[in-house]
Symmetry: C2
Subunit: 154 residues, 2 copies
Amino acid sequence: MKKKLLAASLALAFGVGSGYVVNTFAQAKPEVLVKQRQAAMTLIGKYWGPLGAMASGKAPYNAEVVARNAVYLDALTQMPWDGFAADTKDTAEKTRALPAVFTDTAKFKEGQDRLRGAVTKLVAASKGGEDAFKAAAGEVGKACAACHENFRAK
Amino acid sequence: MKKKLLAASLALAFGVGSGYVVNTFAQAKPEVLVKQRQAAMTLIGKYWGPLGAMASGKAPYNAEVVARNAVYLDALTQMPWDGFAADTKDTAEKTRALPAVFTDTAKFKEGQDRLRGAVTKLVAASKGGEDAFKAAAGEVGKACAACHENFRAK
């Protein structure tokens, strides 16, 4: 119980939400956390890719793909964050996470929240036709880019 | 358009569902497909792990974690399959996929459907208390194991 409270406190301290508790629960090692957060980013790329192409006019709008991928992204964009736990800071794994992830945790959390807000709107917009989709997708793209700019190595 | 029809035909032929179309859309290379399907499996492991521990009595039942992870698994268990496209058969990537994935495609599809059915029931059961959860989780565990037994190297 003490351990659980500690995990909850750490989660609040690092602003990474309840997912942190689950990982403490599973006692995941830093290298596992890095692998899991990279897996989430890989899949966000997989399902964002076609939407980004549609939003920028490089691919034709496909309402079915938009609706499906938006739902997937709604789940996936909740998954990376507990993987940036403090004990992954000095991992030997290859990672593009910049030190700012661990030093500017408030701003990093803001970036996560911005993405989550944009994806929530994307899910709603995915039922509203091409124009609504493009507007919402634009905000998702900006949220990705802003966070990568500050927290991911080039 | 011809390309899209071809992709749809291939998707039917290999029984991998509409996700295949999306990947053809993005023209993902075999090594990317392997990375993406492994990412999905990694995350299924992340969110199944705590549920498996609860189902087998190794961890205390936590309704909040069950509900959240069931929803995540509902999305994640739809994601690996289009990554087993025929052109990944001879990939240089390190993979535990057995040749049967590409030769016994009907049985592989059956395994996917079994998992999907079990996870759908898990999502419903996640609102029904500990006993309902344990019964549903048992079926998910069996679906994982059966498919790994036949299609994944030890």
